[in-house]
Subunit: 344 residues, 3 copies
């Protein structure tokens, strides 16, 4: 693809001569036939030295490079350019005779099923689905069209995946929720008889675990993106277009709204209601309901402004004790003086 | 099953006419031929509107529903009812010719082994065990009767699993512990030559990792329940009937007693002794031994009452600085006055 | 092996008569034909009661045991002894006809490939590599000589593994980084077109996830050891000989230096620079760059001395409020007295 062709496809103004582009690289490493981009001003220092053939930049940087694709949203346009250059993952095609597919499973048109996938009775796989090696699809599982299951993904029985979903390697959907009751006879398992339902265009990270519901469904709404090593307990419901970053844990029966962001390593207690457009800072511990459009931080999590104020005060805490001691001495001195004067 | 039959099997009093029951649902979603339950008073608001054919309730709610199964322990009885309705997971039966089973492995009666399981030399699998696709059982592994290994479970060499154990998908038992020594030649690996031993009726969550011991065994006692994405380091010993919630990490050589509960995302340092019946609050960081029957919270974890008191004071901290400044000014004023009077 | 032979091979002085040694055990459990060791003084209490045939000990303990191998570094020498006694894991040999290997993949001399491994086009596997069952190696993957991939390891396309690397079961390298852009049309995925590069003699724990770069590479330097359930985001770069303990999460584009130690459950924000020889305490949350040779703790992480001072003061916080109230009352009393005197 040439630079001018790319500019036309992205609808961006181009400054400089046309060249052939063979790929995309960072400012630091891109070569003269590669495109690069500047989105985070932190990396502007690389601009003067870059070898990149052309750079997607905000107008204010357009003069700083030999060839510029001028964009008001360089990161988004970089993402769009990358889609044009990205190569397809995996090379296997068709349904492998080395997969185990139960005779009554229904496989759609143009599906790809790798060797050593195991597909049980009653599974329905729609068109253009890709299922890598080592995946297990339990009885009654449904995978919507264009979805991709990377290697060793496990979908336990009755899991329902909508269209355009990406599930990264090793993720487990539909394992039993953590439900037990203590009886006189000991600890009894509560059978987990619900399922997991994943909406359209959801992405789920590597080695993430989403438990099946005890009854009804554990659900993830359309467009939500979940990172690696995340835990969603039984009967959790996550809304639409929400981001859940790596190593977050959400306890059973908690509902998370639409448009939220949960930063890395957040923990949320069970049976809570987190509203829409809520942002939760990294490592926070959420123990209470959170209203729509709130931003919270800390463990236990509080309003973010309060949290930041508390953090800002922390370095001053040791000083408190010095100030208290000084006050106590001065006051004692005054009292002594007073007493002596009274005696006099 | 009819409602009256169910009442008889559970030994519960029934109010209302008999009906046919086809399943179990939540108060919110159950239909007229489904059973439901009320265990957490938080959900009592759904009672007047439920369509459920019958509801397991505490006596105080018996009048609020059309048909009631009256229970002093609604959650336990719901669990027992669910066991009567739960359908078996998976439909594969027998030993698949698509599994790899070393000729000297011993497979018990009525065992189920899915395609693409890999079972090495010297493995012993007892009666009625179920091993799903993608599991690996290393040399010398022993799996006790009625145990279930869900897909892609890995049991490295010499792992010993007792009877009635459930291991969810992707769990890894017996990987090497994290043991190295720094020498002049660089970082040397300490071979991890012990194993992992799991007691009766233990349940282990999806993608959990339990490392083999450097010497002797990493052990989990009878009846203990471990959630998803938990980490147990080498030579950890967990007692009986202990609950370890999701994303907990326990460092090497730490011993956890019987009847404990470790809430989500707790971290415990190495070489510690945690007593029996200890409860550790969510996200706590445990850096010291804990005596029997303690409840602790915070990072570093302290006695729970102290932890809660500290949390309750936190919102008042910003106020400290205002009070200190006010005191300092007032005291300075007094001192000035005093000095002036003395001069006068 | 006899005790005297072992002493010769380790280059250690031996006290006591020669015996046959059949294995290694802990002081608590070793029998009369087993070797043991004392490295952590915490376990010295087991010395008088041990049944071990011989013990590797520091000179100060040499008189306390029947037979001693005297060492200035008992833990390192225990590790070396263990290497002499450790048995090889796994018994399968050669390339299984039950593996799927693309015809144009190149397999080195003396490689072991278990059943149900799936190896795509363009993969290069060097000599003496061991690949267990259920592993997936995507197009263009390269595995250096003597490396071991335990069961169900996933290496997505173009992952590069150097020599002598150990990857434990269920680890996923090269899944897509968590990269999206919010556009007017909704959330768009940023294709992740870089790869993962792992240096020599690295060890990676079970169920750990290391994401591929958006561009360029996510890299782990020679000799670095990563524990279980760790998350490395896209474009993270980790230096040489660094230890990353279980459940640590490192966000995208952060660089970690050489010789660092990140304790369990640490979280590090994105786009940061962590210097060489940095130590980060357990559960810390790192939100800023850290200079070489620093030790930090807490969330947000601060200099360790400051962190410890803050922790030490915490139990005194409730006292602050009592002292403040007392001061306020005393001061009010003084002021009242003053006012009365002035009136008089």
């Amino acid at each position: 693809m040439t630079l001018f062709e790319l500019a036309a496809r992205l609808g961006l103004e181009c400054r400089g001569e046309d060249i052939e582009l063979k790929g995309i690289g960072t400012l630091e490493h891109a070569g003269p036939s590669e495109l690069s981009f500047l989105a985070n001003p932190k990396y502007a220092e690389f601009l003067p030295k870059t070898q990149a053939g052309a750079v997607i930049v905000h107008p204010e940087y357009a003069d700083k490079v030999q060839r510029a694709l001028i964009s008001m949203q360089p990161y988004q346009d970089f993402g769009r350019a990358l889609q044009l250059f990205a190569k397809k993952k995996g090379v296997f095609q068709g349904v492998s005779p080395l997969a185990f597919i139960h005779p009554d499973a229904k496989i759609g048109e143009n599906a790809t099923i790798y060797p050593f996938a195991c597909i049980e009775s009653g599974v329905v796989i729609d068109d253009n689905v890709v299922i890598y090696s080592g995946c297990y699809l339990g009885p009654g599982v449904h995978v919507g069209s264009r979805s991709v299951l990377y290697p060793n993904v496990v979908l336990m029985d009755d899991t329902h995946i909508d269209e355009g979903v990406i599930i990264h390697a090793g993720a487990v959907l539909g394992a039993d929720g953590f439900g037990f009751s203590k009886t006189e006879a000991g600890i009894e398992k509560i059978p987990q008889t619900g399922n997991v339902q994943i909406g359209r265009n959801v992405e789920i990270g590597a080695n993430t675990a989403i438990d099946r519901a005890v009854l009804d469904s554990t659900t993830v709404g359309d467009g939500t993106k979940i990172d690696n090593l995340v835990q969603l307990g039984h009967n959790v419901r996550v809304g639409k277009n929400t981001f859940i970053v790596s190593q977050v844990g959400i306890s059973g029966s908690t509902h998370i709204g639409d448009g939220c962001t949960l930063a890395g390593q957040v923990g949320v207690a069970g049976h809570l209601h987190i509203g829409n457009n809520v942002t939760i800072g990294p490592q926070s511990g959420v123990a209470k309901d959170i209203a729509d459009s709130s931003t919270v931080g800390g463990s236990p999590a509080v309003d973010y402004a309060t949290f930041m104020k508390t953090l800002a005060l922390m370095p001053k805490y040791p000083d408190i004790f010095k100030r208290l001691s000084k006050l106590e001495k001065a006051l004692a001195a005054l009292e002594t003086e007073q007493n002596e004067r009274e005696k006099a």
